[in-house]
Symmetry: C2
Subunit: 354 residues, 2 copies
């Protein structure tokens, strides 16, 4: 979805609506507020949905509001939850989400996390008991861009992914994100599922009747499959084979068992096949690069640019965040295109609430 360009979409003017980013913001806000989401919960969601549209990460843009509202209507998420901030001493910050959404929980913990990272060199933010419909890059990128803090974030999801060599779902798609501040103001950021592909990509192939590449999933009997429906009924596979499995386990342990929230299989067990959205925690590790330079001259950020220069000189290699930044420069001027059926559905959702 994020690979479509404005030009591609521009070829179908009759079926798309062009919205300015301000209009995206206004529509998102109207949908959330009219459907019982508190202003406190709504505003950080509005911000992240707008940022996703701006960066042409459409799966986390306006489309995602359908999931937010559905999870409230099903009684899974609490649209007016009031997250609480806890200083757990030392380098630890914790936010209890009370089944609200992650963007507000993150906002509540952010300032103390940054303060503790600066004071201690390294610090961690634990978020518990939240619905994570937002993307992790939307959390770690501002830490780098605005606070000069490098960060790693990850979380479990539902058990959809088999271990390498296994055949049954046990791990989540467990995204991991990383950010590093750059002098040009556009941090290096990656954010990816530790499954071979995002679950949404599997769904798109199923709906489109397209075969999936070997290596994405196994069927219910544990056999490699190129049938998306069979793969969704079986188990997805990790990225990078047994190495990806190792990283998936690390995420389950640190951002599940360690922080006292659900591992992916527990999130799925709690859902008991109702098809609800995952409810779980998240772990963010924050680094103050300057603090790690003790005893040695030089600026970590300036030094890091040497790596990016050499990376940029390799034809064919692309930094993970480049496409998002390119889209951002475009959409701020041109606005974004929203498929007409999605736009109609969103307007109806806003009207229904009012």
């Amino acid at each position: 979805m994020a690979t479509e360009t404005i030009a591609d979409l521009g070829a179908q003017p009759a079926t798309d609506r062009r919205l300015s980013l301000d209009e995206v913001t206004a529509l998102a806000r109207r949908i959330l507020l009219s459907n019982g989401v508190s202003a406190a919960q709504a505003e950080p969601i509005v911000r992240t949905v707008t940022a996703a549209e701006r960066d042409e990460c459409r799966s986390h843009g306006l489309y995602r509001l359908l999931t937010y509202i559905r999870s409230i209507r099903l009684g899974q998420a609490k649209g007016n939850a009031e997250p609480t901030l806890h200083d757990d001493g030392g380098a630890l910050v914790r936010v209890e989400g009370y089944r609200g959404f992650a963007p507000l929980a993150f906002d509540r913990g952010r300032a103390l996390l940054v303060e503790k990272a600066r004071r201690n060199g390294i610090a961690a933010l634990v978020i518990r008991d939240c619905h994570h419909n937002s993307a992790l890059w939307a959390e770690v990128e501002p830490l780098a861009a605005e606070d000069g803090i490098a960060a790693i974030a990850f979380n479990p999801t539902h058990s959809w992914v088999a271990p390498a060599g296994g055949s049954r779902p046990l791990f989540g798609t467990n995204p991991i994100a990383f950010s590093w501040p750059r002098p040009n103001g556009e941090p290096f950021v990656f954010d990816f599922a530790t499954s071979a592909v995002a679950r949404g990509e599997m769904e798109l192939h199923r709906r489109g009747g397209r075969p999936i590449p070997s290596g994405w999933a196994v069927d219910a009997a544990g056999q490699t499959t190129t049938d998306a429906a069979a793969g969704l009924a079986g188990a997805m596979l990790p990225f990078g084979g047994y190495k990806g499995t190792g990283i998936q386990i690390m995420i389950e342990l640190l951002a599940g068992a360690m922080i006292g929230d659900a591992m992916s299989y527990q999130s799925s067990d709690a859902d008991a096949g109702h098809g609800g959205v995952p409810l779980h925690g998240e772990l963010i590790i924050a680094f103050d690069p300057a603090r790690f330079r003790a005893g040695r001259e030089g600026d970590p950020l300036a030094d890091a640019e040497g790596l990016f220069e050499r990376f940029g000189a390799q034809p064919g290699a692309r930094l993970p965040s480049e496409r998002r930044y390119a889209a951002r420069r475009r959409t701020v001027v041109e606005g974004v295109l929203v498929p007409r059926p999605l736009h109609d559905e969103l307007v109806a959702l806003a009207d229904a609430g009012e």
Copy 2:
């Protein structure tokens, strides 16, 4: 190499020597001390070499002593370096290695790292200016097994690996290791290169004249190759495609630029084609699981066992550390087999020094 079993090797009694683990220890110690390595530097190397033989991780066992001694003879490593410990305040510990070997540097920092992890919940150990001939699992496993601390460790190496889509070496094989304490005393541990395979595996294929699988490397023209020599002359590839590239970049930034030590390309530049061993830093992040449980009942380690139980119930899935622990139970009783040519070379190395 680690996949050989005692039974396999036992079929070649004429060409192998069986050593008890005490004999491994004694031989390793004699080689190091007789070649000018100080007792302080030698003892932690002896311990890690013995642990690697015990776990049948032979590439980090006695064989690796050849590299240790060569790097001293070439004037790259300082066999009598005295690492210094620095409390950088907050949650940061630093050890300056002065071109010595990593095992002693790690030992010097360990107690303060553990103390800071317990006090702050999370802490970091920066190691600078060391030769890393040892495996990272040998550092993180004891943290979990003996101190109850979960840990992530990584480091750059030399620039051997191209970014996904690129064609020229830029990143190291950049190992990442993780440990998690388990009630049975055998921590969950993974430790792998973030290249598609370890560089030693490429070398083994080249020496054996065997083709390498597609996906391991590109030739000097950037084309996929199944020729190991062409791949070594070109560039290795990351594990997991662009996702693995993201993790490789993260390791370069955090354990290179951030901590004020060499990134892989700088380690290679400093070597200037002399074929020396990498000289660089390392970052270890330590977590006290109990501290992350603030405000919620239960024991993180007990909870985590639920994941391992379900993992163990999947035929075909294998925990990364299982094979090492199985070997350990066997070799403690039976000793280890050392190929005769290697044993002869090691004894000669010890004698030459005396």
